[in-house]
Amino acid sequence: MEAIPDQQAALRLVSLYKSYGDIKAVKGINLTLKRGEILGLLGPNGSGKSTTMKMVLGILKPDAGEVFVYGQNETAAPVELKKRLGYVPETPQLYEFLTGIEYIDFVAEMYGVAPAERKERVSHFLEGMQLAGHENEMISGYSQGMKQKIALISALVHKPEILVLDEALNGLDPRSARLVKDLLRELASEGVSILFSTHVLEIAQALCDRVAIMYQGTIMAEGTVAELRQTAGLPGSSLEEVFLKMTGTDDIGEVVKALSR
């Protein structure tokens, strides 16, 4: 795996550590997201993906290590650097007493997006995500997929340079999921850098330029899907087979037998 020069890095995580009491969630990970790249963060539940993303966003404070956004240490200018980020959490904790459009407006105001600029972008997003006609309803009545769409629109409304998406396709219908995938590819081609976590390995394989596999708080492997196949010694196999081999969860057949007894 070759080192990525600083000037090419949109986001660089250096020796990040995070513990919750006795549980070591993230154990000194180093990761670089290149400009205009879609980097997939894969790993089983509890492997530290969401914790890593929350540290990038400033929701959690690392116990040790640093986060650099476009070469600048995030702790030095957190407000300015956060303006360049967009985030969709695994389970969006939206303000459910607001309507969809009020929420998007609220987020846009947080990022200082001018009303005129907002209007056209938001209208297109609402149409594209098939939320038009529901935008004036309170979020409390939305389905999980609709909430996810609102979270996605909110993350994109200020045209972020780096997108941090934690299971962003969860709950989306096939059409919206396809739309988001195409949109992410388009954004990446325009220079937006995307850190993308998912459990759906087919999506990672189809969408991501590179993949990093997290397991028990560490990065086990990082590279293109082809490089990972080489590393795992499984040329020609699927990403799923590579993933299961690397994370030591290839004993699934035995587990299924035990569960079905």
Binding site: K54, K82, K83, L98, V122, N136, G141
Partner: protein
């Protein structure tokens, strides 16, 4: 039973439902001791003085079975109003294989058990008087009937819960923005009605007329238990049996009705509320709020918080605080003529008349500001991810709380001033102190809210850690008293001949103290908010 406890943290004794039984036992024993001591004092009095008191005790025994379900109802309705709407429809009971009857029966027992401390206290206090006056048997019957009453109170709460759920869904689904105003008014109205019914001054008045009015309203099922107790006291076995059986049958009927109402009206899915219609027009901030020097980001936070306060069911009750406290104050005016208020005239210009303004404005400011961080609940994580500084969040939170506290203070001040008609200068002094108290309390509440936030989402959210609430109320109320004290002393001294003009400026001491507290508490609130925004802990 466990729905009110925290979702995180270690095991605590108070998280075990069995603790309710222990508390009941302790309350019963303590109140029984008090009851025995009180009746001992009454019986030691000369016969002429003891007679009316003994008569009052007998009336109280009759009153108890009617009081128990009412208290359960009040507590149940307030509990329901305080419940988070997020949990109203995601209740796992909607999909678990449980029949309506099983659910309602379990829930009724749960409600009855949760509020069993009420009959424990009442039965404890009445045990001594009943035994010493020779009504031991009646007390046992009263105890059993109170238990039955407790259960039908729980069943009625179940009926109300189902009805509130359906009415809320229907109204919210059809009435758009008007529904939000309607719900706010209805909530405040319901809490006010509860407050009126259970105002202590009103209750004392009611007990006096209760027994004499019983015959006229004997058709009301909620009074049958009381009628049975009265029949027992006068030795009317037939009436006693009749009303006792009727009470039990009524409880059964309420349980049956609760099952039917739940089956018919419970809405398992939340209503969809359309707040406004028409083409999307992006918000352009608020020129009004900007006048106060707030940045666009801060204005957006203020508007979001104000919408939350008026739209979230679990927050609506906080709006009722100034109204409820004002009602208490008005009761004092109308039921206690010696308060001097309401009659007007230059002789009723006591600075003490303004105590309600100071306490209502202060307490409301303290409470509404203390929840400002915790009410974000898990959505608070958003604030950490947005490009915001802790100072911006603090300024927005302070402004929202300050705006509401000042409006409440001025409202109560106008009410009190109209009733007490003080000279203009005195009124201005009182207003200055009232606003200073409200400002102090908002800052103190915000500091405690930032230090002890509770972001947990549970059926009945707390927003502030209970330990923090206790400390906050002690500190906040002490500050109100200390701020008011120089003005009160000045008032007392001004009544002395020849010193009026010299002591009037004592109110400036109140303002100076308030200024010092405002400065210190702002600094503290600022430090706590910075600490809070280091990382999101929930």
């Amino acid at each position: 039973m466990r729905s009110g406890r925290s979702g995180r943290g270690g095991e605590s004794l108070f998280r075990n439902p069995a603790i309710i039984a222990v508390i009941d036992g302790v309350c019963f024993a303590a109140c029984a001791l008090i009851g025995f001591a009180l009746i001992g004092v009454v019986l030691a009095l000369p016969a002429t003085q003891a007679a009316p008191l003994i008569s009052a005790v007998k009336e109280s025994l009759v009153f108890v079975p009617a009081l128990v379900p009412s208290v359960v109802l009040v507590a149940g309705v307030l509990f329901e109003l305080g419940a988070s709407s997020k949990f109203a429809s995601s209740d796992s009971i909607n999909w678990l294989p449980v029949t309506q009857a099983e659910y309602v029966a379990a829930s009724t027992v749960s409600v009855a058990y949760a509020y069993s401390v009420v009959p424990s206290v009442i039965m404890g206090v009445t045990l001594g008087p009943a035994v010493r006056l020779g009504y031991g048997g009646t007390w046992v019957e009263m105890f059993l009937l109170s238990c039955v009453s407790l259960f039908y109170g729980g069943a009625i709460v179940e009926i109300l819960r189902a009805a509130i759920n359906r009415v809320s869904n229907v109204v919210m689904g059809r009435a758009r923005r008007g529904a939000l105003v309607l719900r706010l008014a209805a909530t405040i109205g319901m809490i006010l009605a509860v407050e009126v019914i259970f105002n202590f001054v009103f209750l004392i008045d009611l007990v006096g007329t209760f027994t004499s009015a019983l015959n006229a309203v004997a058709f009301l099922p909620v009074l049958w238990a009381s009628l049975a107790v009265r029949a027992s006291i006068v030795g009317d076995t037939a009436q006693n049996a009749l009303y006792s059986v009727a009470t039990i049958l009524f409880s059964g009927a309420m349980l049956w009705a609760a099952v039917k109402v739940r089956a018919r009206y419970w809405s398992p899915t939340p209503s969809q509320v359309t707040v406004m219609g028409g083409e999307y027009a992006p918000g352009t901030g608020s020129p009004f709020f900007s006048l106060f020097g707030l940045s666009p980001v801060e204005v957006a936070l203020v508007r979001k918080d104000l919408k939350g306060l008026t739209r979230r069911r679990e927050l609506l009750q906080y709006f009722a605080i100034p109204f409820v406290l004002a009602i208490v104050f008005l009761f004092e005016v109308f039921f206690n003529p010696s308060s001097g208020l309401g009659s007007g005239g230059a002789s009723q210009t006591s600075v003490g008349d303004q105590l309600p303004t100071w306490f209502v404005g202060g307490l409301f400011g303290l409470i509404i500001s203390s929840i400002s961080f915790g009410q974000e609940q898990r959505s608070a994580s958003l604030l950490y991810s947005f490009p915001l500084t802790a100072k911006q969040v603090l300024r927005a939170k302070l402004f929202t709380s300050m705006l509401l506290a000042m409006l409440a203070t001025v409202g109560i001040f106008v009410l009190v001033t109209v009733l007490s008609k003080p000279p203009p200068l005195v009124a201005l002094e009182n207003l200055a102190i009232a606003l200073a108290i409200a400002a102090q309390e908002v800052l103190i509440g915000t500091a405690f809210g930032a230090k002890y936030p509770d972001f947990q989402e549970r059926p009945r959210p707390r927003f502030v850690d209970p330990y923090g609430v206790i400390l906050m109320v002690i500190v906040g109320m002490t500050v109100v008293v200390v701020t008011a004290l120089p003005a009160i002393v000045g008032e007392a001294l001004s009544s002395l001949p020849g010193v009026q003009s010299e002591v009037r400026p004592l109110f400036l001491v109140s303002l100076a103290f308030a200024a010092a507290v405002i400065g210190l508490s702002y600094s503290w609130a600022s430090r706590e908010t910075k600490k809070l925004f280091v990382e999101f802990k929930w």
